[in-house]
């Protein structure tokens, strides 16, 4: 205590309340000198808010980085750095791996620890988390398509992106297309078919994991069964990389023999040799848009759903 009440000290830091500029300066100076810093827990308790934003995403593996998620996170962080908020990153491993951390995430949200949350669609846990956020009345933004009716969402139009890829293949004289991915990405499949038009008649589907190894396996299986295939759309870039690598190892020329397009346009797609053509979702923009929407929500401003445009980036694999 340096001659003033705690209320005054609080006012000196809070930018609210009435206080003379002189005492504010004095208190700030003294605080600096004494190394005083307002206790964050007391602050949060008293004012019942927080400056932490939670980012929740399905995590495929605890071993391999998920380039898709990382680039979204980068976009979120860019916004947060300018607002002084902090980011908490919460992977949600597949349910098979024990009960998982969902219970602990749930408690954290319910107990008011977060100012808002951003949730990436893709697993059943994502859906549960949205319900928790709603129940706790914590502002939330959903990234991607979830079977939930909500305005707080930013999506990308996979179908249009896939259609662009289909049209490109037709335009560049390809006749034997294949699609490699999971059975869940119906939108991509449907869009691709639309883009291909009549050529869709000869379309081959191949389902497998969304991994590098999955791409390699897909190449081998397709090559054996359907040697006529001359163009491939992959559900993501890592998958495309695996396909391309195995193709080159099998003396198939990319793009001369088979043209390949990936999905997401993650950073390393352009590092690859040949550089991978990709349907760009603009992940960075996706993340930063989600963050901006969340702040609007938190501040009580109206929020409308956003859609990020897909763009087809042609590189050496085509």
């Amino acid at each position: 205590m340096l001659g003033v009440s705690t209320a005054t000290v609080s006012r000196a830091f809070s930018e609210k309340g009435r206080i003379s500029e002189k005492t504010r300066q004095y208190i700030i100076a003294k605080a600096e000198e004494l190394g005083y810093c307002a206790n964050i827990h007391a602050r949060n308790l008293s004012s019942s808010n927080s400056n932490i934003i939670g980012f929740f995403y399905p995590s495929i593996s605890t071993e391999q980085p998920d380039y898709f998620i990382i680039e979204i996170q980068l976009g979120i962080n860019q916004v947060l750095l300018s607002t002084g908020n902090l980011l908490q990153t919460n992977p949600m491993p597949p349910e098979s791996q024990g009960n998982g951390p969902l219970a602990s995430y749930r408690d954290y949200i319910l107990s008011g620890g977060l100012a808002g949350v951003i949730i990436v669609a893709g697993s059943s846990e994502s859906v549960k988390l949205v319900e928790i956020a709603r129940a706790a009345e914590v502002p939330y933004i959903v990234i991607g398509h979830m079977g939930i009716e909500t305005q707080y969402t930013v999506t990308f139009d996979n179908a249009i992106g896939a259609a662009l890829a289909g049209k490109y293949f037709v335009r560049t004289g390809r006749h034997h297309p294949a699609y490699i991915g999971g059975h869940l990405d119906k939108r991509k499949q449907k869009g691709f078919r639309e883009g291909l038009g009549e050529t869709a008649a000869s379309l081959i589907f191949h389902t497998g994991g969304h991994t590098f190894g999955g791409g390699a396996t897909a190449f081998r299986e397709l090559r054996e069964k359907y040697p006529e295939i001359d163009c491939v759309l992959c559900a993501n870039d890592v998958l495309a990389a695996g396909f391309i690598k195995e193709a080159i190892a099998g003396d198939v020329r990319i793009p001369e023999d088979i043209a390949v397009i990936g999905f997401d346009d993650v950073r390393f797609a352009r590092y690859n040799t040949p550089a991978i053509s990709s349907v760009s979702l603009n992940l960075h923009l996706l993340g930063s848009t989600a963050a901006q929407m969340l702040f609007k929500y938190i501040n009580g401003e109206p929020v409308t759903p956003e859609l990020i445009r897909c763009e087809l980036i042609i590189r050496e694999s085509c």
Copy 2:
């Protein structure tokens, strides 16, 4: 209030204090029913701790993901998932970009918001942050080499890793080595030289950015000035990817004409074509080790510095 005092409710959840099994069950059940969840801020204030771990790292860019950092984060998260702690990720952009978020990070640490911090060496801000953590008496672990005397550190021996690369080049009959990197990584340079032995006499240094573009530029410049170069050690994998891509574009065969080794062994090194040989730092292990050390520190157990072994992974680029 359902007939018991708040103290009893607290005891029902805290696993400490004395409470009969019957009332605990009763309270838990009722809590579930009423959707009660202990307020995290009050908890933290009262018990003056937190379950959040802060992860601070120098961030090169808000646009490009830093694969090095990401894989460390993955390792940290794996440990955290099993302990019920939460991770807060805090990029530290280069100082040039405005004042930066350091002040806000400082306040957060000083105000007791974090149970512990993990700091990646590499910028002047990293050093400041360590000093802040010390001043605030918050448990911390440093990843990498910082000019600070501390036992709370986990490092990797760059020099030994680089020496392995040097020896490999000599053993496989290369005679005109080059090193591409920054002027800061003296350890790598020194180790490489040692590994090369006599061959070090003809070593060419090239300094530039640690980026993909930097690798491409390096290839062009070196090729023009020193066409005799037949093996290259790059300061990281992304740099190596850029070098390789530009080399292939210039009709130089990898590895026949030039053998290339990268550093870090990030995930995509093996996706590349040709797959990039790399000095593996085992980033995942680096992260999980740091997290485990931090928990020891937090629990008051003795902590000794750890060193992660480097390993040379040979792939197609050699």
